[in-house]
C-alpha cells in the first residue's frame, strides 16, 4: 500500500511534467491549428537557456528568465514565419516546425556542445520532502508538482477569467468578427503562441534540472507529448491534464508491476503457442509502447480524445 502510494506520487510528478509540455502544445494546436513539432525542441532550449542563465544569476533567476526568452523566440517565429505560412494551410506549418526540430537540435550542439551539461536542482530542493512507511518522496518532485499546478491555474485564469482570454476564445470561433470589432487577431495569436512555447520553456527549465540536460532530451519526450495531446482531446486543457497523468501512471505502474503477459493469460494457455515471444515479455518491457498503442486506439475509436470538444 505504502509502495503504491509513493509510486502514485512519482507518477503524478512525471505526469505533471508531461502536462506542462502538453498544455502549451494543446493550447497552440486548439487555438491556431498548428501542430508544433518543435515543441519538445523548445523545451530543450528552455533547459539549456535556464542552464546558461542560472550559471550567472542562480537557479531561480534561470527559472524565470529562460521561459521568457523561449517565449520571445516563439513569438518571433510566429510573427515572422508561421503567420506567412498560415495562408498555405496547416501542412506547411507542420513541415516548417519539423525542420525546426533539426535546426534547434544542431544549434544546441553547436552552442553547448555534444555532451550533457551540469544543470541540476539547487541545494534547497535536494532533500526529502516527507517520508512515508520508509519510502522517501524527494523535494524536487514535489517542486515539479507545484510548478505544474501553478502554471495550470495561471492558464485557466488567463483563458477563462481575463478579457484577453475572452478575445482569444472569440478569435478561435470567428476571427473575422473579432477583427472587425477592432481587436488585433494577429497579435492575439502571437501571444498565444508565445505563451504555449513559454510553457515548454518553463517545463524545460524544471525538467532539465530534474532529468538530464543533453541534446537528446527533446527526442526523449518529443513524440510522447503528441500522444498526450491526442489522447486528451483537442482544445481541452483538462484532457491534457488527465492524459498526462494517465500516461505517467501507466508507464510508472507497468514498471512497478512484475508480471508477464503469459501470467495474466495463464488460464488461457494452449491458446497461443505461436505467440511465445509475445507472452514472455514482462510488463515493464511493454511499458514504452503502451502510450503509442493508446494513441492509435484512441484515434481510431474515439477521435475526439478523452475530453475533446471536436474531432481532430
Amino acid at each position: 500500500m505504502d509502495l503504491a502510494f509513493v509510486t502514485l506520487l512519482n507518477a503524478l510528478s512525471y505526469g505533471l511534467l508531461l502536462f506542462m509540455l502538453a498544455a502549451g502544445l494543446t493550447l497552440v494546436f486548439s487555438l491556431m491549428g498548428i501542430m508544433n513539432f518543435a515543441h519538445a525542441s523548445l523545451y530543450m532550449l528552455g533547459a539549456y537557456m535556464a542552464y546558461s542563465v542560472s550559471s550567472q544569476v542562480g537557479f531561480w533567476g534561470g527559472l524565470v528568465v529562460a521561459p521568457v526568452i523561449v517565449a520571445g523566440i516563439g513569438m518571433v517565429i510566429e510573427r515572422y514565419i508561421l503567420r506567412h505560412l498560415h495562408a498555405r494551410g496547416h501542412i506547411p506549418e507542420l513541415l516548417f516546425t519539423f525542420g525546426l526540430v533539426l535546426l534547434i537540435e544542431e544549434s544546441v550542439k553547436l552552442v553547448w556542445g555534444l555532451g550533457a551539461v551540469d544543470y541540476r536542482v539547487p541545494v534547497e530542493l535536494r532533500g526529502t520532502l516527507f517520508e512515508l512507511f520508509g519510502a522517501r518522496f524527494p523535494m524536487h518532485k514535489g517542486f515539479v508538482i507545484v510548478v505544474a499546478l501553478l502554471s495550470l491555474s495561471a492558464i485557466w485564469w488567463l483563458v477563462v477569467r481575463t478579457r484577453t482570454g475572452l478575445v482569444v476564445r472569440a478569435a478561435l470561433a470567428n476571427p473575422g468578427m473579432v477583427e472587425s470589432l477592432g481587436h488585433d487577431v494577429g497579435r492575439v495569436f502571437t501571444l498565444v503562441f508565445g505563451l504555449g512555447v513559454g510553457l515548454a520553456g518553463l517545463a524545460g527549465a524544471v525538467g532539465g534540472a530534474v532529468l538530464v540536460t543533453e541534446p537528446a532530451m527533446a527526442a526523449h519526450l518529443g513524440t510522447i507529448i503528441f500522444v498526450v495531446v491526442v489522447v486528451g482531446g483537442l482544445g481541452s486543457i483538462k484532457g491534457a491534464l488527465i492524459a498526462s497523468v494517465l500516461i505517467g501512471t501507466l508507464e510508472t505502474f507497468l514498471i512497478a508491476l512484475d508480471v508477464r503477459l503469459s501470467d495474466v493469460l495463464a488460464p488461457l494457455t494452449g491458446l497461443a503457442s505461436g505467440l511465445d515471444a509475445v507472452l514472455a515479455l514482462k510488463a515493464s518491457q511493454v511499458a514504452p509502447i503502451m502510450p503509442y498503442l493508446l494513441m492509435v486506439a484512441m484515434l481510431i475509436f474515439r477521435p475526439r480524445g478523452l475530453f475533446g470538444e471536436r474531432e481532430i
Partner: protein, 358 residues
Amino acid sequence: MQVWVLAAYAYSYQLLYGRAGMLSFGHAVYFGIGAFAAAHALNSKALATAGFPAEAVPLVGMAAGFTAAIVFGYPSTRRAGIPFAMVTLGIGELVAACFLMFPGFFGGEAGISTNRAGLAGWLVQSYGRLPTLYPLLLAWSCLLILAALWVAQTPLGLLARGVRDNAERIGFFGFEAAEVRFKVMLIAGPIAGGAGALAAMLYEIVSVESVSLATSANVLLMTVVGGPASAVGPLVGALALTLMQTALAKITHAWVFYYGLLFILIVLFAPQGITGVVASGVRTFGRLGPVGFTRGYGLAIAASAVAFAGGITVIETLFFRTTGQADEGRLPLLAALAAAGVTVAAGLWLARLVRGRP
C-alpha cells in the same frame, strides 16, 4: 546506386504526400518491413532449394509492404491532414518499438545480416559482386518509379489529387475520400516495400533503423526538398540528400544543420522544391531574356550568396569552438559576430526581395 533505391522509396512517398496530400511520419514502416522480408527471403534455405530466383526478391518486399499497408493503412487512412500525420507517427513508433522487443525475428539492435548471393539468380548465377547487382537494382528501381508515376496518371491518381485539394467535393461525386486514401496507401505500401527489399540487397543488412522515425523523416525531407509535385522531384531530392550525406559530411560535421536549413528555406520560399525553383527560373529566363533575368534575379542570387557565406562562417566557427580547438583564440568568434550581422541583414533583404517578387 543508393540514390536510385532512395528515389524509389521517395516516389512511393510522393504518391502519398505529393498526390494525395497525406503527410506521413511513419512511411519507414512499409520500407522496413519490406526490407526485413527480403532479408529473410535471401537467408531462407527453403526458398533457395525451391529455386526462387534472386531477381524476384523485391516481389517479396512488395508483398510484405502490401500486407503492412492493409494492416496499418486501413486505420490510418480513415483520417487526413494532421490527424493522419499523428496516427502514422504513432504507428511508426509502435512498430519500431516492437522490432526491438522481438529480437528473434528482427535481430535486435544489430539487425539481421544477409548475403545477396544466398539465392541464385535466374539470369546470373550470383549477384554478389556490385557490378552484377547494379543493373538489377537499376531495373527494379526504374520499374517501381515508373509504377508510381503511372499510378499518378490513372483515374485513381487524379481522384487522389482531388482528395488532397478538396475532399468534400470528391464526396459529392460519390467517392469516399477515406477509400481513395486507402487505395493510394495500398499502392504506395508495396512500392516502399520493394524499395526496402532493394536496400536489403544493396546493403546486405537490415536493422531497426530501417523502420525508425529517422528513416520516415528522411523520405519526407527528400520528397519536400526535391519537389512534391514534380515527376523528377523525388529523384532530385534523393540525390540532394545523398550528396549532403556523403560530400558535405566529409567537409563539415555540421551537415545536418545545413540540411535542416535547406529544408526550412524550401518550405518557406519554394514549396515546389528544388525542381520548382529551377523550373520557375527557366521560365523567367525565357520570358525576360538574359539581361532582364540578371537584373531581376541577380540581386536575389547575390543576396543569398552573401547570406550563405555569412551563415557558413558563423556555423563553422561555432562548430570549431564547441568541438575544441581552443588554441585558435578569440578571433573566429569576433569574425562570427561580424558575419552574423551581415547574415541577418542579407537574410532580411532576401526575404523582402522574394516576397516582393511578382
